[in-house]
Symmetry: C3
Subunit: 290 residues, 3 copies
């Protein structure tokens, strides 16, 4: 009796927590963390050229930062045929992102940038960012579900795009900065976050549409957030950058031609051996004839 009670209380508490987190306002704290990390990432990518570039090309620098800060919104709008300029509609967001861009690139003595490189600060910011990511994935899935209620693939794709859009938008951002690296793109080597977002949005779509997964929505949301946080912290603290590698390798071996390739190679090898035997078997007889 007690156990059941505790269990039910636990679940109710979790659902309440989930609902509370689900309804959290992203602006300004979670947004700030997101913009800060994205801007620092751009600056890291420029590496030693960042100082010079931000002084010489402030417009290009600002625009590429905006592109990345709102990459998810741009990508989702592009896919769904909505106006691309939507993210520029809300002045608050743009002003906040601009402020953070300014602080990261032009703050006296690089204070803000150096601050974000301190591990505890980085961990806190990353946790806040994952809250924002969970929010965006859920928002993307529910938005797509409103437009295309029966197209699960569209819902999953839009959810993933909202959660991990920066990777896909990066080539355009690089182009704005005058950099062009066509042989490196997100789709060739999907990053960990893309995979995690894909799984998270699949989870949400399953929850909304199937009978396999009929937990309350807020609980699923909480689970998804935990899932995102788990991989983020594993990456930050223990440098686990490819947790799915074993599954991927197994899947590739089974489904993506691994077995058949091995079989083909084995057959080719056995054929060669046979040919080699044929070549070597007659040799003694040749000798006899000599």
């Amino acid at each position: 009796m007690l156990g059941v009670d505790v269990g039910s209380v636990d679940q109710a508490t979790l659902i309440a927590y989930g609902a509370w987190i689900h309804r959290l306002k992203m602006y300004p704290y979670f947004d700030t963390a997101h913009y800060l990390l994205v801007t620092c990432e751009i600056r890291d990518e420029m590496s030693s050229a960042a100082g010079m570039f931000s002084r010489k090309h402030p417009l290009s620098c600002w625009l590429s930062t905006m592109l990345m800060c709102f990459a998810d919104a741009f990508l989702a709008s592009f896919l769904l045929g909505e106006p691309l300029i939507t993210p520029f509609k809300r002045h608050d967001d743009i002003l906040l992102a601009t402020l953070i861009w300014y602080l990261v690139f032009y703050a006296p003595f690089d204070a803000v940038y150096k601050l974000t490189k301190i591990t505890p600060v980085k961990v806190v910011l990353s946790i806040l960012k994952e809250f924002k990511r969970a929010h965006k994935v859920a928002q993307g899935v529910s938005h797509a579900a409103k437009l295309y209620p029966h197209s699960y693939l569209v819902q999953i794709l839009v959810g993933t795009a909202k959660g991990a859009g920066t990777g896909v938008v990066r080539p355009i951002e690089q182009f704005v900065r005058g950099v062009w690296m066509p042989t490196h793109n997100e789709l060739l080597r999907p990053s960990l976050y893309t995979k995690v977002c894909l799984i998270a949005s699949t989870l949400l779509v399953l929850e909304a549409n199937s009978t396999f997964l009929n937990a309350p929505h807020d609980l699923v949301y909480l689970g998804m957030l935990g899932f995102l946080l788990y991989f983020k912290l594993a990456y930050l603290l223990f440098h686990v950058s490819e947790p799915f590698a074993p599954f991927e390798n197994l899947f590739c071996a089974v489904a993506m031609g691994g077995i058949w390739d091995a079989l083909s190679r084995a057959i080719a090898a056995s054929r060669e051996r046979k040919l080699a035997n044929k070549d070597t078997v007659p040799l003694p007889s040749d000798k006899k004839e000599q």
Copy 2:
């Protein structure tokens, strides 16, 4: 009397055939042929790298195949401001295309890919694909005509995009695969299919809007299909890759500056000759003076 009767019966039969073909369902047989040929084309383009690439980057490989299989829909949606994600809406199409992608790249012993390289199979698939192409061109023209009833150019462009979109989308598909060749694009050297689709959609627009061409719609459709099939078979069986070259050359000579260029060159040459004469004529007098 008999001749007239036979003629009228013939036309009625043709119209009936046209109507029947016009109303044929594309899914699944014609779609299958289309997806198969497109996927094989991508694999041909990768040439020897195909095996390695499809094993190492399955996501990029799948996405580039989807981009090409639904290139017409993506391009038309992009031009008409409709959601780009539309082709992912119907699960049947995506599943069929994915199945074919899988079979072409990962089938045991490359069976499916090798099968499509056998000439009779290829010819049958190509014929089926032209049925699909005719369907897409007609659909594109009528869709654009609904949106822009008086913009004939838009109708022709959308019809062409639907019929020969793969060429224009190819650079994006290559980018997804990490390949970037900006100096080769469809618009620099339009392929035969682009030209044929341009003519076909012009025909359809003329039929719908002018009084010059007032044959029944189904007959025009049948004629367009015959036109597409004719050039496809000429290409496949007799390797006629540039049937329009004589007309193009004539047109370029007359309209695209050919005549004027020749005239300018002639004038320049005659001027040079005059100058040369002036240079050589005084020589004897010079000699006399000596």
Copy 3:
């Protein structure tokens, strides 16, 4: 009394002029000037390859010219999620642009192209083009204001895109011609026209939304046109290509890290001097010890 009267008459006259100019029809004279200058610019960019290219790739040449002639419309449609094909809707515009493309590239003895290079002709065409530009900026701002009445940034961006879209669309136009120069783009080094259009559309947005600037709309329009013409003529006649450079340098020095960078350098230098002193001060004592 007289002065006041003259003043009020003057303003009324100016407003009347502004209203008259504001309501001028762009088609065909102003459009012609715009298309002519844009097409000549494309031809200048190709430099010596223009003759050969226009003969060998007429389709690519035509399409890239159309892209640039209607660059503003394409860019604004793209940003606002409207159909990209809109500029192809009106046959008049396309026919006029095609005619001008034809004359610039294929006219006998290059007559039209050479004509536009004569300074007085160029100045007249440029003045007409600035009328068209003012028209487009005002149109862009008012169109965006209808869609997003409270998003001033969107209005400014769309106004700028309409006024100076060619710069941003240029990479795509170059791609159509098989040229790809990712390290040169408008956003890295915004041209004078982009800056002028940015100021002009900011002016219009301020006029429409604030209480600081409450002159009549037609007067503001006239002022904006004068502003555009002023910089254009300064550029054409006196080669003033960077009139904003002093302000930009001042702004960069104050806001874009200039002062802080100098301070950091000064501190670093003083530290080095201290270190150098420390290194040199002990030297005599060392000597004493020896």
